[in-house]
Amino acid sequence: MIEYALNFAFVCAGLALLINLWRLSFGPTIADRVLAVDTMAINGIALLVLYGIGRATSMYFEAALLFAMVGFVSTVAYCKFVLRGDIIE
């Protein structure tokens, strides 16, 4: 039963990533694109954790944690650049 649920969640997360990619390409403002990248990082975390459950290894957990941190830092860096014209002042 878990396999079916995993397949369903894989399809959902993949579809969500595609939708985010659409927003990233056609987003009318810069903030839209930054938001799309942030959401893509979160969907990537979901995919990694799901893959870890599917393979029954906890190896992908560390990758997911790193993804969360790098996604947060990159979003903040983009927003700082838009706000101040510089990242580290």
């Binding site: 039963m1 959902c12 959401t39 979901a46």
Partner: protein
Amino acid sequence: MEFIVELVISVLIVIGGLFTLIGSFGLVKLPNLLMRLHAPTKATTVGVGSILIASMLFFWVERGTFTIHELLITIFLFLTAPITANLIGKAYLLRHVDPKDDLPHTGEAEGWATFDVRDPEEQPRDPGKLPQD
């Protein structure tokens, strides 16, 4: 594996996948950015949260040892989501909202924080005026 535990894990995974999809669907459907900012928070909290709880339960049943290190990701996401939302909103305000026409007056000597970048030694300004650049 017991049937009930398997059922709970499967339901949590399905809920997580659905909410991830709903969050991204809102990103396309809603009309402007300040509304769009609202949609992916569902994917962050309920979506990734329930997938991580499912992962916790799965490895508990699989290995027999209960670990809470999945909660690290959840806590990290819960801590950082408001910060990113605030910064994205500020970036949008700075580029696309005119502080004179679109925002109500603050009623203080200072204007809106995103637009009002003053050095602290300057004298308090006339409340009606906002910085020009």
